[in-house]
Symmetry: D2
Subunit: 346 residues, 4 copies
């Protein structure tokens, strides 16, 4: 068939119905992205990349994808239309800019970047290249958070008075991640984004205190009080200091109280308990593996990315909203360093 | 293009990648099936049917599907490959047999049928026609139930000692459904299937008592004690008598205790609360509508059906397992009538 | 002072303001009774008794009470006005009859007796002697149960439709108690009493199934469906088979649904969690030891006994109500043996 | 009998065994204090006082106590040994100083006073008069808080890393109390005391933000981050802005994470639910009224006071610890006013 024959055009249309995807970075999240794409009805996982070539080989083989250890080689493939970037925070800017320049649609695991200047570079590269960018803010796909968001419309809630967000994890995760990230950029970005989204307002001023005594290589905890542009006050509670025996491995919550009503969520109870030498739980929301597949919020997020890429539908979160969390994290870091309130520089 | 031209064959392959589906019965569940298919990456909702022609028209128009008021006309369309049947229990046998005879793959909302002879007719029709049949046992797609199932392997659990299942709803639902179903076939089939699946054993003997004083047109409650073939004992707690103010509108639970370990789930806490004149909840698991779409267990179930139909992969539940619940429901009904223990006739 | 001098009479009045109490049986509960009396503002723990003389000596010394190893010697002391009997079930009848004959006010730990004939003997001895008898039904002093009781008045609840009670414990307790009791008389009596109290009606017919495979020397589990005289149906869920790692060591619940409203309690969440190698809980209701004292339901129960003995006020539960639970337990045992429904013999 | 006759001395000893008590202030808490004393085995409620003479008459009559509308008259009675002071915060100093000068043992409802200078005056008056003073910090008698305290010994917890306390109530209470108190002195004192007690360390620096838009006459919410002398960081979450439909009317929690382990409590679930037009709860811990009496934490607190007064035993909390909360509240108020971190002046 020649390139312009009707048959060739039809063949192209067949191919075109499926999204050809590569995954860059095969750690905890990247390997899950790869598995989800490999199982998606209209995605083809065609390539995976990790600087650990053996890991890339193994995952590539098991999922039928070409392995790479250099993401630039993966990005050079013209048949790949979209990529998930699941690298450590500090490597986001280089990979995301390269992906933009290569013309790929990008699903970039949160945080957008590890500081405001890097975030800006990514946004500029994306806008210059005219490619699509979605940040992996999984809470936007968590029914509990979305229910709070929908209960907090101005019509129902009135004016927001105060919001509180909690995200606590266990110390072995802090030790495992080491200097690859920080409590603010690993955990904090979730809740800063969620609070601004749900409050329909941005954070303008912050005050934070932190601790670092466990020696995990990361902060143990960071507590903050924040102000929103609309007058609401907020409270943030991040910890990576919980003992590893914490039920389900994490605790998170969010609440918003308005002049007319209020709404809250609490993830402590996941609805499932196993009882042996102790009582333990299991994930039933984020990325539970059931029936041999990864389901839940992460699968829904990746499905949204694939479908939006294929259909041209808008992402439910514009990247500008994700960007808006980064200066808040920078301000929180500065406040925790100086012990003084800090205005968010936008 | 002629039918055998290369272009026609390619066009056919394009079409072939998508499942062309019809939905029969547009009540609470049928309308949700229709919306989920209409939004699915590889499903085309091509037809909907309700004996209320106006309802079929309205839903068909909003979702871009051809409306029918006679399911036999829908089934006569050769381009429709698969159907969801979401009719009242007593109408299952006629529609399912017709769908089988029309050669369609069938997703039949639970229960398989409203009694054992009808269930047998459906199974025979399906086997004779050589079509595929999946029963809508949504708990097989609920992470909480699947986590219990996976915690209850013989290696982990040892021998099952006892199991308890609870499914309670509100009285206005009982009144709304009226004589279209019964507490056993509407609620009970969920848990009889789940208990037999999780216990890896079938129920062999039952004893039940029921109440009917609220005047909803349905039973208010049915309590039972059952025996499993493997020696385990079980307890079943069905109620449709809760006041409508019940948080989230339902309560369900399942637990299994074995010689080595135990596991349980409880759906009371859905993790989300809205506070106004009272504190209320919202669905975060079954079929939550978030971001303008229906997600959760029901969406995952329909995705499984579509993908399995397209790829030829097996359904995670064989219809024989679904069939195995029906004689238990019949026995429970008989015991509740007679006040005596009843052996399950298989 | 002579015995009839005014000073002697006043001295007697001083003594009289305090209840002089002995505790018979110093196991798990008896030792707690002793500690609570020793700390009570108007009780004097004057004697303790255990057939293990060393244990009686040790506890007597630590609490300033005279130790006995023969309860008849303790009962022979005329200065002791009231006794707690905390012996194994099968020894209740002998000790309670002796205490009645000795003219003591009696707090008899539940169950009243280990079968209906024994219960009858105790009641007859008490009535003949004209002494006061209170059964240690601690749930009557648990705010959660009393709140359900008060929410279930006919005015609020309407007519009871169905009730469910759950009491589950861990297997090591079953093994520790061995043949000294049974699942019905140790656990079951709590809920049979509570259900009849809250339903304002007695159980008239029962059906039960049980398991005994763990080899603890006790039943592992007993499931039952029951009928009440007022038409309500009930469900009972007893287990001693849970692994020892069960959070808080027990699970209990009770719910009642009526024609107008409903109420329920669940003891799974005690409000307190400790996190180390696992997440565990602690008692915050039954008999928590806080600030160096035993508080909670058990302390409130014993306070009620002491004050009622001193003031002549009626006990909140008449012993006839406690008696009414025993024939139900007998019927449940018979049904579990025969596999047939059994009418309760009153 | 003459005053020194043996009979008179014995009569005095009889009387002496009971604590003769007056209650000053008969609002929400004072009326409960009065009822609890009236029912206590060794307390005699002899007098009650409210500036609303009709209210004093009514409560006095119903409980058999002499009514007063001027607390100085009540304090002038030499037969009254101890008083509960349950007045609005700002009136504490005058009444408590007068009670001290009158030689009474004092149970002063929290907060000790409405600012640091007033607290100091009370302490000085108590020390000068040599009377006993207990502050009504009810959390010291709540099993959930005491369990956290006992789980947080240095041996178990290691070094405290971070603590969080939450106390949220409904807006109608804020409106009812009006200017009689403030969010910090009504709610805040509970948690500042509890945090310092459980952390075994005092708060040294604070930062707070508050809101006041609902127009209840009180603050709607106050969020703070604090530092402890031992290096721990803390977070405080006070709100009076929740809609009145909040389940149980309040939400509170406390958690502490240390270098070795962690512990937390959450009061959201009280274990009891009533279901009618909505699902509601009821108090099962603080001061539940069951069996016609007030039980729970408040009753245990007042029992502790009575017994300690009668026996001379020490109070479980020294008033100096209660005093230590007041400068923190002052600092929080100042920080919320100025928007700057404030060092606690001790």
């Amino acid at each position: 068939m020649t390139e312009n024959s009707p048959a060739a055009r039809l063949e192209a249309r067949i191919a075109d119905r499926r999204a050809r995807i590569g995954v860059i970075g095969l750690g905890y999240f990247g390997s899950r992205h790869a598995r989800i794409y490999a199982d998606h009805p209209i995605a083809d996982l065609v390539a995976v990349c990790d600087r650990d070539a053996a890991r890339a080989d193994e995952i590539g083989r098991s999922l039928g994808a070409q392995p790479y250890s250099d993401f630039r080689e993966l990005l050079a493939r013209p048949d790949i239309e979209a990529v998930s970037i699941c690298l450590p925070d500090r490597l986001h800017v280089e990979a995301a800019v390269a992906a933009a320049e290569a013309g790929k649609a990008i699903l970039l695991e949160k945080p957008l970047a590890h500081d405001t200047p890097s975030a800006r570079k990514i946004v500029e590269a994306v806008e210059k290249a005219g490619v699509r960018l979605m940040i992996g803010h999984i809470l936007r796909f968590d029914p509990r958070y979305v229910q709070v968001y929908e209960a907090a419309t101005p019509e129902k809630l009135g004016e927001p008075i105060h919001l509180r967000a909690k995200r606590n994890g266990i110390r072995s995760v802090a030790a495992r991640l080491g200097p690859a990230t920080s409590i603010l950029f690993y955990m904090g970005v979730h809740d800063v984004d969620a609070m601004q989204w749900i409050a329909r307002s941005r954070i303008s001023r912050v005050y934070a205190q932190k601790r670092q005594v466990l020696g995990t290589g990361n902060e143990d905890a960071l507590y903050a009080v924040v102000n929103f542009e609309n007058g609401a006050i907020g409270q943030i509670d991040y910890s990576w200091a919980w003992p590893d025996g914490l039920m389900n491995g994490y605790r998170c919550a969010l609440e918003i109280v308005g002049t007319q009503s209020a709404a809250y969520l609490d993830c402590t109870d996941q609805g499932f308990y196993a009882v042996g030498e102790a009582t333990t739980g299991a994930d039933t929301h984020l990325w539970p593996e059931i029936n041999g597949r990864i389901t839940g919020d992460l699968a829904d997020e990746l499905n949204h990315f694939v479908v939006a890429v294929r259909t041209g539908r808008p992402f439910i979160q514009r990247y500008q909203e994700a960007f808006d969390a980064i200066p808040v994290l920078d301000a929180l870091a500065r406040s925790a360093e100086t012990g003084q309130p800090v205005d968010v520089a936008r």
